[in-house]
Amino acid sequence: MELDHLGTRDAAREETITADRRRFLRAAGLGGLALALPGVLAACGKEIAAPAAVKLAANTDIGDAATVTLNFATDAGVLNYAYALEQLEAAFYVQVIASPFGGMTATETRFLTDIRDHEVVHREFFAAALGSAKIPNLTPDFSGIDFTSRSSVLRTARAFEDLGVAAYNGAAMYLKSTAYLLVAGKIVSVEARHASAIRDLLEPRTSHFAPDAFDDAFSPTKVLAAADPFIVDTIIAINT
């Protein structure tokens, strides 16, 4: 049972995700991942009692954005926060490799492909760990990024990696499970390695790879506000 990874203490029953029906179903079709429908959840086992963890809003108005609520009082909410950020990062690097900027060197291709793979692994890991408790696939909005421009791509990568580091650093204190805290720690240092390397590509052999003796630790609200322009959906953090 997928939810076994979440244990019983932080069952996802407190998660409430409302989503536009059309957007939701489209995401399921495009994403290729199983969509957690109420019926599926109900059949899924004892950890998920009614009300269902995921419910579809009746709203069928135009518009593509889902609204996702992350409850930081539960470990599932915190892990879904990480899952959301990893979805964003993975989608970004997938596009970077799919449509490389002009003049991308073989070294840069190898390097960015590695990072893409790491972020996809992170995304798929959280999807597997959360099982039926996971939030839907998010729709990125990369309209502000010029994927043909090395500078635009690397500067965006820097922003995402630094934000990821600050997000994990700031969210760790919400986790109740020591196992989840440890796994978050295993990931954040890899994000920091990415941040360092991307920064060094932008400003080689300077102090840019590590601009301060202490990294940032951002609140979920601050992180989500920073990420908001890059995500079509609306993500709300509660109980922070």
């Binding site: 590695d114 793979d117 922003a159 204190m173 440890l182 920091a192 052999r205 202490f214 940032d216 609140s219």
Partner: protein
């Protein structure tokens, strides 16, 4: 682009959360006043130190916090003296690479300062080090550490990767103390930035394994560092066999997660460097 600007520093929002999060740091107006001083100085370390100090009555740090921070302090003493010595050694570090090491040096000294400040009288004194890993003989396996730049970089990498793993291994112990946990994590990720830079520098920024910024399986090209990388080949997280959830190769799977080291393993790694 909005995110292209620096993302700022530890803000009042997370500060407030740190202060209200758990009983261990629930305090009244005096807490806010102390933290406010740090924030007015616009200094993350000062704010963090204030938070950490203020989370507990002075001199009454929980034993587990003292134990963890003193382990961290020992490693930071090791790193800071290593870089202080290397940077001061004429002819060791090429001019082109100097900024990399003076940057790391400054950070390690700041970490020492922070940890000593947080620990107060409970801080352990700085040991005497033998950076050749000779237990005081000065003639260990890295005997040319301050005359051969390649050896210097190799030892630096081993220290940084050990530091990342050491902080990570203590996260669970700090979990009941969110302010200290968060402060430790903001150091932990900086050590990872250092590690990536030194690793890539050693590979002349060619981004080829094992000199990429990340750790591939338990690979190392540095003699005597098997223990530093032992366990990094792990590809199972939270009971999930990562090879079953994507078709991404095992090298990248293991690169995606850094593994912790126990206190015992860390002390065994650094023992030859301590007289």
């Amino acid at each position: 682009m909005k995110l292209d600007t620096p993302l700022g520093s530890l803000g009042p929002d997370i500060t407030a959360r740190l202060l209200t999060r758990r009983a261990a740091i629930t305090r009244g107006a005096s807490t806010s006043a102390v933290v406010a001083v740090g924030l007015r100085m616009a200094s993350v370390p000062v704010a963090i130190a204030a938070l950490s100090r203020d989370a507990f009555a002075q001199g009454a740090l929980p034993e587990v916090v003292v134990r963890v921070l003193n382990l961290a302090l020992t490693l930071e003493y090791l790193e800071s003296e290593f870089y202080n010595t290397g940077v001061a050694k004429s002819g060791l570090i090429p001019a082109a690479d100097r900024t990399i090491f003076t940057t790391i040096q400054a950070h390690e000294n700041a970490h020492v300062q922070y940890l000593r400040s947080a620990l107060g009288s409970a801080a352990v004194p700085k040991p005497t080090f033998d950076f050749t890993a000779g237990n005081g003989s000065g003639n260990g396996p890295y005997a040319d550490v301050f005359t051969n730049y390649e050896t210097f970089k190799a030892v630096a990498q081993a220290f940084e990767d050990t530091g990342v793993r050491a902080y990570k291994g203590q996260a669970g112990a700090l979990q009941p103390y969110p302010a200290v946990l968060t402060a430790a994590l903001t150091i932990h990720s900086v050590e990872a930035r250092h590690a990536a830079e030194v690793r890539r520098l050693r590979g002349n920024f060619s981004e080829t394994s094992p000199n990429e910024g990340w750790i591939t399986r338990n690979m190392t090209d540095i003699p005597g560092t098997a223990a530093v990388y032992a366990g990094e080949e792990n590809a199972t997280q939270l009971g999930i066999d990562l090879t079953t959830i994507t078709n991404i190769g095992v090298d990248e799977l293991t690169e995606s997660f850094d593994e912790p080291l126990t206190r015992r393993a860390v002390l065994a790694i650094v023992a030859p460097f301590i007289v």
